[in-house]
């Protein structure tokens, strides 16, 4: 039920920060659903009405070299239900750190093929409660991921595909016995891992990026379905396929300032809300090299 564990997608693109450049930004995202999948059964729940998640994420991306970037993100999340009695939650969620490396790049008749490897870690930054779905702000699991990504730029058009395996640590909940599909006499919950797949195509110049995105998250073995009229649980199988649109525009007037925005729609899922979301944000590039490099893209 928690859409919050899906990675911020900003790092899954074929763009590197140049060496010694630091890009800082903030993103606001609003996401809501009034229907969800209980296992495979799609339903509404009048006791929650519309469940919304608002997120303000602070992001940074630093170019260690032209081919190696370090990216971080930390969101502050607020949840709310429009009906029923259950109180919404708020707090700082998980800090994610990603090392992104451009490992191979080749020019083919003026077009560019590149491969990237991304390693990510995320850790909860507060003691928020995971076992309060669908209104908990996250799942409180530490994660480690490896993502392989390929990007092809053809003139001003591009396509990027990537896939990641996300390993999740066990979590502890505030109960010492709980029931999944069997009883567990422990406060520890085995969190199933996940595989993320992301594909995007669109138009890309150093001024403007406009892209369509397809994204899938598939929980690996160990998860289980929400049974009829039951409450969700952190180790549920939570699968989700969404489509969306992202845009990024680097302002002419203020060099280094970029505006981003986008929309996402969940088309199918399992034990998750069918959320619609939109987001917008601002990013600013600081150049610590004292040179006059101003763009965030490598010279293609």
């Amino acid at each position: 039920m928690a859409a919050q564990h899906f990675y911020a997608q900003t790092e899954i693109d074929g763009i590197m920060m140049a060496k010694n450049n630091f890009c800082a930004g903030a993103i606001y995202e609003y996401s809501s659903w009034n229907k969800y999948w209980e296992g495979t059964y799609k339903r509404e729940n009048l006791n929650f009405g519309t469940v919304s998640t608002q997120k303000i994420a602070f992001n940074g991306n630093y170019g260690i070299t032209d081919n190696l970037n370090v990216i971080f993100s930390i969101p502050y999340v607020t949840t709310n239900a429009t009906a029923g009695t259950m109180a919404g939650q708020k707090g700082f969620q998980d800090l994610s750190l990603t090392l992104k490396s451009l490992v191979y790049e080749k020019e083919i008749k003026g077009n560019w093929l590149s491969f990237y490897v991304l390693g990510g870690l995320s850790v909860p930054t507060s003691n928020y409660v995971a076992d309060y779905l669908p209104l908990s702000i996250g799942l409180h699991s530490k994660t480690a991921s490896v993502r392989l990504m390929s990007d092809y730029q053809y003139g001003n058009l591009f396509a990027t595909v990537s896939g990641a395996y996300v390993k999740r640590s066990n979590i502890k909940i505030d109960r010492n016995v709980y029931f999944t599909d069997v009883m567990h006499y422990t406060n520890e919950v085995d969190m199933p891992d996940g595989i993320s797949f992301n594909a995007r195509v669109g138009y890309r110049t150093s001024r403007l990026i406009a892209e369509a995105v397809f994204d899938n998250w598939t929980t690996q073995k160990g998860g289980f379905d929400i049974t009829t009229n039951n409450m969700p649980f952190p180790s549920n199988t939570m699968n989700m396929t969404k489509i969306g649109f992202n845009g990024k525009y680097n302002l002419k007037q203020i060099s280094g300032l970029a505006i981003i925005g986008g929309l996402n729609h969940v088309i199918t899922g399992r034990n998750v809300g069918q959320s619609d979301s939109f987001y917008g944000g601002l990013f600013y590039v600081l150049d610590f090299t004292k040179k006059t490099k101003t763009t965030t893209t490598d010279e293609k």
Binding site: L46, N47, T65, N67, L68, A83, G84, T85, M86, A87, G88, Q89, L99, S101, L102, V103, Y104, V117, G119, G120, L121, N127, V129, D131, Y132, K142, A144, S145, V146, K167, R168, S169, N170, I173, D174, R175, N176, V177, Y178, F179, V182, M183, H184, Y185, T186, E188, D190, M191, G222, T227, T228, N229, N230, M231
Partner: protein, 518 residues
Amino acid sequence: MKNNIYITLEKCCLFALLLLNFSCTNDIEESNQQYPQLNPVNPDLLAGTWKPILLTAPDEFAIDAPLAVTTAAYKAEINEIKSYQSNITADQERIIKYWSVGGVLRWNEIMQTLVARHNRPPYQNPDGTYPAPSAANPFANPQFPFSNPPFAARAYAYVSAAQYDAMVATWHYKQLYNRASPFVVDNSIQVLVPKSTLPSYPSEDGALAGVTVEILKLLFPTEIAYIQEKADEQKLYRIISGANVRSDVEAGVALGKKIAAKFTVRATTDGAGAAIGNQALWTQLETNAIAKGETPWRSLDLPARPPMLPLFGSVKSFLMTPDNVVANRPLPPPSTNSPQFLTELNEVKRYSQDDSKENMKIVAFWADGVGTYTPPGHWNAIADAAFVEQNYSEVRWARNLALLNLAMMDAAICCWDAKYFYFNPRPCQADASIKTLTGVPNFPAYVSGHSTFSGAASTVLSHLIPSKTSEFSAMATEASNSRLFGAIHYRSDCENGLLLGKAVGNFAVNRAATDGAK
């Protein structure tokens, strides 16, 4: 440039390795997997003289005298053990490890599983009404039962009480027939569990399997296949482990079934089947409250759901008379028009605004809501962990769980009696701005069920294990407070619920003092 790529690749691989190391292994050790094999300090040799709960006497139901250990048929049974022991499979080892911790304990855990699996309110019809589970048609949607707290309290009580009576009868016949254990008759048999000094016929595990399967057919009819599989494992474990021969086990099963039949008859006539009430009654409850000048309880579920088991207060108790129930009914809650009501409502509102981690932790720990083993199940788990440390015999395990669960069934009866006698609204009905930290149950507020269950359970457990009195009462107080902290109960619901629970628990304590088990 190429070098750079290799260096970068190297860095990435290092990073990836680091990631793999970082993620800890997912193996979780669960507390009930660590329990030792049952090896009672005191075998309770005289338990055949203890007072049964429903049986008129330990020998109300007869079993055949066993065959002599010198017969060919008995020798064939010894050979069956040897045959199994010559080739024990990994699955059989698992079965032995699981069941040798104790039959009463394992069945209690299985009960907790069944309750949790079926503790889900029915999903509404398209027209906004709700279907009701039907014992006559248990597989229809919604499946029978909806094992909500009163149902669960009663189910735990029937299983525990029937098991206790079966154990008393078993102990009686063990003494009467005094048949030696297979490993005494033939010392070449290995014994894979601690050797019991008790006579072997009938088998206590056989009796537990027999009585429990039969009673659960009534309580969880859709689970027969799962339950039978567990029972078959338990019976097999006794034979493979060399603790019983097959005729010991079968005599136990036969005895257990006869005893269960008596409990089944009682269960079908104790009033629980009619506890759901009907529209006329639901309307009447509301009308009565309005006539008294009070704000009547209203369902906060959407769509509004009929109140949960309004006639459960009339279910026939094992330990209390209907007059006892009325005599122990708490004094009225503050009138919904009174200044004290408003004061208490404001207090709830203040708690609703405290979403500190410490507060949420207490609320979550004791929530025991939908999809869980319920508050009575929570207290069973607390009792199980405490009893394991005491190394009880099976008969004492059964007795002590029976006392606990009879008390919690009475807590359900008395609490539900009060809830529907007063029909008091929940805090977030009285003030819609109050948000809760756990789900609001679908029945009136006064008195708190968690508090009543916890008061009763801690009273009984403290009597059984006096050295843990302060621990059990602290838990009961915290469980009770959790409902105020979670903003779903007023202070008077919690405090008076705890008091009611203690009063109810004393009926079980009085029985414990006179059942011959001291």
